[in-house]
């Protein structure tokens, strides 16, 4: 087990280098000069631009720039400076916890509601409840998130006045409930589908028949025997959702004014703020890798037939 984890961590290094380099290349091949862009419609001061480019190392060959960038992260935990002179790390320290909170709310919602709906429709396959869940999940999947977000924001916060319509920099848990609900809606729909499929498949398994023949109450057959065996696809999905929900909440964060990762990343891309974009994406890549490792380790916990050596 320990060796497996060590091997997986080592394997992460090339993956990490590969993805970050790719992003580095992509960001630096964006058209236009980021320093000139700061001038907007005004003519840029050539001398200033040149000195600034030199200061930021933008004239070095790409590979050298990338190498220096990595070196600074590894040696000094320095993600470089944004164009406004602030360390990128400071910005990240501010936005990641906010997004983590938002993603936590969304995932909590995803798990509770998604599993409940999935189990319900799996057990009632072909019946009324199953159809209803199908319709609900299809609706959620087909309604664009900005429509869903706006509608819920208007209804819950403005019409019913149950919560604040926007969140702001403080990001209190209570204020994050509604945005988390909206952010998690899509994940709920997918998790419900995956759970249903898994439940239906395992419901036919021989060991479920055995559990029934043992005289176990139906409740126990479902919770102890059926659910536990149906969890691997569910855990896989939830595990990949954490990264997605943290980095991909651009629309939700926009609607509810949550100053999180997605929103900041979006702004940074618009302004061609290379260091910020690369820093954020780098951390997101790390989060994805960590989640996938945790999911793989969970497989072994969930299914003793899977052994890591």
């Amino acid at each position: 087990m320990g060796r497996y984890v060590a091997r997986r961590l080592l394997q992460m290094i090339p993956v990490f280098l590969g993805t970050t380099f790719l992003i580095y290349v992509m960001v630096y091949s964006l058209p236009g000069d980021p320093i000139s862009a700061l001038y907007g419609d005004k003519a840029a001061d050539k001398v200033f631009v040149a000195s600034k480019r030199k200061e930021l190392g933008l004239d070095d060959p790409l590979v050298v720039q990338y190498f220096n960038y990595l070196k600074n992260i590894v040696l000094h935990w320095d993600f470089g400076k944004a164009f406004n002179g602030q360390p990128v790390w400071n910005e990240m320290k501010r936005v990641f916890p906010i997004s983590l909170k938002l993603a936590t709310v969304a995932i909590g919602f995803e798990i509770v509601v998604g599993v409940a709906l999935g189990v319900l429709s799996g057990l009632r396959r072909g019946k009324f409840a199953d159809r209803i869940v199908l319709v609900i999940t299809l609706l959620i999947i087909s309604i664009p998130i900005f429509v869903l977000g706006r509608v819920i924001q208007w209804t819950v916060a403005i019409k019913w006045d149950l919560t604040k319509p926007t969140v702001g920099g403080e990001a209190h848990w209570a204020d994050l409930m509604m945005p988390g609900f909206v952010l998690g809606a899509l994940a709920v729909a997918f998790l419900a589908r995956v759970t249903r499929t898994s439940i239906v498949e395992n419901l036919r398994a021989d060991y479920i028949r055995t559990a029934t023949a043992k005289g176990l109450p139906r409740r126990r057959v479902i919770t102890v025997h059926l659910l536990r065996n149906s969890m691997i696809p569910m855990v896989t999905l939830i595990g990949t959702d954490l990264g997605t929900l943290m980095g991909g909440a651009i629309v939700t964060e926009g609607i509810f004014n949550v100053p999180g990762v997605g929103y900041t990343l979006f702004q940074a891309i618009r302004l061609k703020e290379g260091p910020t974009v690369i820093g954020i994406v780098t951390v997101l890549v790390l989060i994805f890798l960590a989640c996938s490792l945790i999911v793989d380790l969970l497989y072994a916990v969930l299914d003793p037939r899977i052994r890591y050596a």
């Binding site: 398994a205 021989d206 060991y207 028949r209 055995t210 559990a211 029934t212 023949a213 043992k214 005289g215 176990l216 109450p217 139906r218 126990r220 025997h225 536990r228 065996n229 969930l302 299914d303 003793p304 037939r305």
Partner: protein, 346 residues
């Protein structure tokens, strides 16, 4: 001519442990209604081993599952019949009453122990579950009981292996665990659905021997489902032979080997490999079992029967008594028994 049988089990007084009476089970599927069981009746007394024989699809397992109450309804439906267990009709009980009988008073052993045991729980957990759920024992006491059970079914090093998972055991050991699980609460009736089919021949004999031994020790009724007539001879008291959801012949076990009373049984017996006939082609009953959505009129076996006459295609044969405890549902039962009818060789 009558066969002299005085099977002690057959003349046993008192209420039988299990009485299946005119049981019908059908499956409602998209393609139509499959009549899997069409009027099965049998009795099992305490301490008796009843073997249920028949080809694949003849309704052996479905009958057993109806007794256990583990059929999925729907698609299954039981339009007719009674299943009396210790005198009470199971089909009239509430689900909760039946659940409490399962595991405690009746238990089932399945064919494929690898898929029948839950892969994600240790065998100790799965054995102990019986005591925790039905007896309200603590986890620790239940684990101790699990070890006892594993000792009972002769699993070496039970104390350490109790924490192992099903896939870590050999097929034979796993089937012993299934047996232990069925025996856990000392039920009165055990249904073993092809308990040795998935095992190696040598292991088969050991497992079957163990099951028979424990059955005697606990004086349980045992329904042994199999399509292997060879397995049956040593352990069973009585046999019922099923075809297309009906019992075509019932008899004490030794009588049937000497003199089958139904053409189908005759065919089954002829298809057992025998050492003294080594080298000869194995006999096989020609044709295939009927489609349960379109069971042939008359005797369901008639399209495959070498003795079939016109009457067989039109009239459902009634059970003909053939001496002590014997019956055959064949229009020519007596003649078949005495070897007096000639087979039409097609």
């Amino acid at each position: 001519m009558t066969i002299e049988t005085s099977d002690p089990v057959l003349v046993q007084p008192g209420v039988p442990l299990l009485e299946v009476e005119d049981l019908h089970v059908e499956f409602h599927t998209r393609d139509g209604v499959a009549k899997a069981v069409n009027g099965v009746s049998y009795k099992v007394h305490p301490g008796e081993t009843l073997a249920v024989l028949g080809e694949s699809g003849s309704g052996k397992s479905v009958t057993a599952q109806a007794v256990m109450g583990i059929l999925d309804m729907p698609p299954a439906r039981i339009p007719r019949g009674a299943i009396k267990f210790q005198g009470r009709d199971l089909l009239k009980m509430s689900n909760e009453e039946r659940r409490k009988l399962r595991g405690q008073r009746m238990a089932m052993i399945f064919q494929d122990s690898l898929s029948a045991l839950n892969p994600v729980y240790s065998v100790g957990f799965q054995l102990g579950e019986m005591f925790r759920v039905h007896r309200g024992m603590s986890r620790k006491d239940a684990k101790a009981k699990a070890v006892e059970l594993m000792d009972l079914v002769k699993i070496p090093a039970a104390r350490t292996r109790v924490n192992d998972y099903p896939h870590q055991f050999s097929g034979g050991m796993r089937q012993r665990i299934m047996i232990a699980m069925a025996l856990a609460l000392e039920p009165d009736l055990i249904i073993a659905d092809e308990p040795t089919t998935a095992l190696d021949v040598t292991v088969q004999a050991q497992v079957m021997g163990l099951l028979a031994e424990l059955q005697r020790e606990f004086h349980m009724g045992l329904i042994l489902i199999t399509h292997d007539l060879g397995v049956v001879a040593d352990v069973a008291d009585n046999i019922v032979v099923m075809y297309a959801g009906r019992i075509v012949e019932r008899a004490p076990v030794h009588a049937i080997y000497r003199q089958p009373g139904h053409p189908y049984t005759k065919g089954l017996l002829a298809s057992i490999p025998r050492l003294d006939l080594k080298g000869q082609d194995l006999y096989a009953i020609k044709g295939l079992p009927p489609n349960l959505m379109r069971i042939p009129s008359g005797c369901a076996f008639n399209p495959r029967c070498p003795y079939a006459r016109d009457v067989c295609t039109t009239e459902l044969p009634a059970a003909v008594p053939l001496g002590t405890g014997r019956e055959s549902a064949c229009h020519f039962a007596q003649a078949v028994l005495e070897g007096e009818v000639a087979a039409d060789v097609h």
